[in-house]
């Protein structure tokens, strides 16, 4: 017997750790991984609500979030590779111009 609020608390903790990674890390790839962590945390709360309310819609939303995350990862990593090609760095503080 686990209350659904435990799952929501876990989801909130993971989301906040993702926010922390987004703010604190200086490597573009790690920042991108923090975004994936936030998406995962949101998925957990979707599934928890789905089980609590006995509705399947939560599972469908998780499916859509995963598709968007996959497309985002493909495009985002291509952008990261392009950024690295033009400036030879992955440090986000040195990437302060859109064009060079």
């Amino acid at each position: 017997m686990v209350p659904i609020s435990y799952y929501l608390v876990l989801s909130a903790i993971l989301f906040c750790l993702g926010v922390a990674g987004f703010l604190l890390k200086r490597n573009i790839i790690t920042i991108f991984m923090s975004i994936e962590l936030m998406l995962n945390a949101v998925n957990l709360s979707f599934v928890a609500f789905s089980a609590e309310l006995h509705r399947l819609s939560g599972n469908i939303f998780v499916f859509f979030v995963m598709v968007v995350a996959a497309a985002e990862a493909a495009v985002g990593l291509a952008i990261i590779i392009e950024v690295f090609r033009t400036r030879d760095t992955l440090n986000i503080d040195k990437v302060n111009l859109l064009k060079m």
């Binding site: 209350p3 876990l10 703010l23 995963m66 440090n91």
Partner: protein, 193 residues
């Protein structure tokens, strides 16, 4: 009881791996920590009766997306994260801010009257058959829109990854002018030898 034990074990694993993701300096260690988080979350999905989502989590997230990340890290030869003045400021402001955010969220969710009855294993079962039926009947239009999104994503990735014909010629002199690459020294040594 079994449910509680499994929940607390895998919740602890997920949080520990997420903290490890933040603490590690090398991106490859962070990526492997994220794989652990995703595996622990897949177990939690199984506890909540979402078997399809658990399987897709392992196949798509832990399998495909993380392979893409690890591939990129190794392709770019990413090293240990550099420290900059900006990171000190971010640590000073960010850590207390995030701690406050966690406290606020935990306070709100723990005090809420949500699901006091609790949830036991097997109470709700999201079978793949029901999900498929719902996805291809009620959510057919969003599903098709998603396929267009994925197509655009593929095209965007190909366009971004494609090398321009003119740019390598422009960039090659810059690289040699800034710092001689180790590869360019090797032929000279061979000639001496």
């Amino acid at each position: 009881m079994l449910h509680q034990i499994l929940f607390f074990i895998f919740a602890a694993v997920a949080v520990a791996a997420a903290i490890n993701l933040l603490l590690q300096k090398h991106p490859i260690n962070s990526a492997l920590s994220l794989v652990v988080v995703m595996g622990a979350l897949a177990v939690l999905y199984l506890l909540l009766g979402a078997e399809f989502v658990a399987a897709v989590q392992l196949i798509v997230y832990a399998g495909a997306i993380m392979v893409l990340f690890v591939f990129t890290i190794m392709l770019l030869n990413a090293g240990i994260e550099e420290r900059t003045p900006g990171s000190t400021v971010a640590t000073l402001i960010g850590v207390p801010g995030v701690a406050a955010l966690i406290g606020l969220c935990v306070f709100v969710f723990a005090r809420g009257r949500l699901g006091e009855s609790g949830y036991t294993i097997g109470q709700f079962h999201a079978s793949t058959q029901d999900i498929g039926r719902l996805l291809f009947q009620d959510y057919l239009l969003p599903f098709e829109v998603t396929s267009v999104l994925v197509l655009i994503g593929i095209m965007g990735a190909v366009v971004l990854a494609k090398r321009d014909d003119a740019s390598p010629a422009d960039r090659a002199p810059e690289i040699t002018a800034e710092a001689p690459r180790p590869e360019s020294q090797e032929p000279a040594e061979r000639i001496h030898a």
